[in-house]
Symmetry: C2
Subunit: 341 residues, 2 copies
Amino acid sequence: MASVIALDAMGSDRAPKPEIEGAIQAARHYGVRVVLVGRESEIRAELDRHPASASLPLEILHADQVITMKDRAAQAVRAKRHSSMRVGLRLVHDALAAGFVTAGNTGAAMATAKMVLGALPGVDRPALAAVFPTALSTAAILLDVGANVDCKPENLEQFAVMGEIYSRSIFGLRRPRVGLLSIGEEEGKGNEQTRQAFRLLKTLPLNFIGNVEGRDLYNGQVDVIVADGFVGNVALKTSEGVATLVRNILKESLRSTITRQVGYWLSRSAFADFKKRLDYSEYGGAPLLGLKGVCIIGHGSSNANAIKNAIRVAAEFSERNINTKIEKELRALRPHAVALT
Amino acid sequence: MASVIALDAMGSDRAPKPEIEGAIQAARHYGVRVVLVGRESEIRAELDRHPASASLPLEILHADQVITMKDRAAQAVRAKRHSSMRVGLRLVHDALAAGFVTAGNTGAAMATAKMVLGALPGVDRPALAAVFPTALSTAAILLDVGANVDCKPENLEQFAVMGEIYSRSIFGLRRPRVGLLSIGEEEGKGNEQTRQAFRLLKTLPLNFIGNVEGRDLYNGQVDVIVADGFVGNVALKTSEGVATLVRNILKESLRSTITRQVGYWLSRSAFADFKKRLDYSEYGGAPLLGLKGVCIIGHGSSNANAIKNAIRVAAEFSERNINTKIEKELRALRPHAVALT
């Protein structure tokens, strides 16, 4: 790899520490050149704590404004024209970087990326995809998870095409199984939106396995799950809620007696395993699909490993020409529609 | 209690065993009279295994057809006119029973109940409510979870009123917190449907706390969660998926070495605790709200305890006049609309 990736150094909850460490790891392990975008003095102070980084391909690009988690998306985009997000995405727009990574405010990142990069020809609405582990240790993706509500069936069709290409290109699946998130498996089940989308999806030249339900998200039986952004977001956040509840109940319960504490102590490595299996940081963040450029959004709580993997994914996204494939496959799908634009 | 409850003796996956045992427990502990509806010979054979039941207020009403989990709802309603579901619900319709309980096919139960009982005045679409435990050991309810898709904002408004009354009447909450399931907490967040519903809900004379997200379902911060049936169903089934994944990962991991097995053995009571906290059978099944009558639907995997609790809830539902309250509060809400019907 020799891609240049622009990294929002000010994005995560504990920025710039995880960003700098993740950038150092990515530069060292993957040979990616990383442009650290943000407040130069803060970035330099953190870099100075890692003397070995001096020999790595890291650069700093100063941007004096920072979009915080509390900023409203639309307002941040308008008011903070020199934010690290906007400056970083400009590098991608101007072809000075192959991709952009941020662990900052998701709403602001989506809005800024759409404005700065614009949508690919044939894409009506870019989608945010969530990547997560399944029972079979494969990675599945769910899209959209919040960028688009009240989708038309055609939007869901485009999500299917984009998600399938991503799954093939990044996870190396030869023929990913694509499912439509609905309630009930038969074709007629669901709401008006999914029934219409089902009819479109079954004509696509991909491995469409029909409707899937919420309980299928994590069972490894489907690789790409297509949903309206409202529904996808509810599914994702409900999952977080259940995981938190289970963790808290177990933790509390295992502390309540000495015997159990001993039991917990002996079985703690199993819990570490478990945590690792559920560790989203291995999967490199959520890609925004359908933009003229590469933008990967990490969780605000990202650690160095998550940043490293997001940088790797951004580089792979660019090198594997995912956007060219999306444009081409959408054009093949609706040749006349695209010809008219 | 001296209510008469009609019980579908043929509903659950292992019917009629859990039904008979649950009915015996309910009759013994709560003094409820239970009419066991289904194939008389099978019911009697099971009853004969419990000689002490002879002195309890249990009756048998023969119905020779059984709706299975594989039957399609609409078809089962048409084709099986002598099913235990339909015969049991007729008892409620004819005021011979105060309520009906089934652990059978949910779709068929909803369709049959709507047809046999009909909707209360002022209710456009009856709703199925799911009841579950939260982090604070309180019970929360989510409605609708699958009876109605493509809801109008007015449907969601009615769900809020019905769910709030149920929470007050059955769980004894004085002023339940009512939330609208959406994506993002601010009023403007969500889709067209939830934005319109938000405007209706905030004018209601109940404790509306605004939008809640998927991660709030289980955190004990909201008691009644209102959603379109498509969204509620996805949230519920996604929760099942996460719980299954977590359980399987832990189980597998804790078996993999001797030390961990010892650890697991010592901490197993904590897991039993955990299972109990998540045991839906304590909460007495899912009520169908908005019907002219009482209908409680249990899970197909219901055990005797779940059946017992569902019978208790059906009796309480009737004794606490929930349907009268729903009718009255909906009339107060839209006096003109109801006056016209």
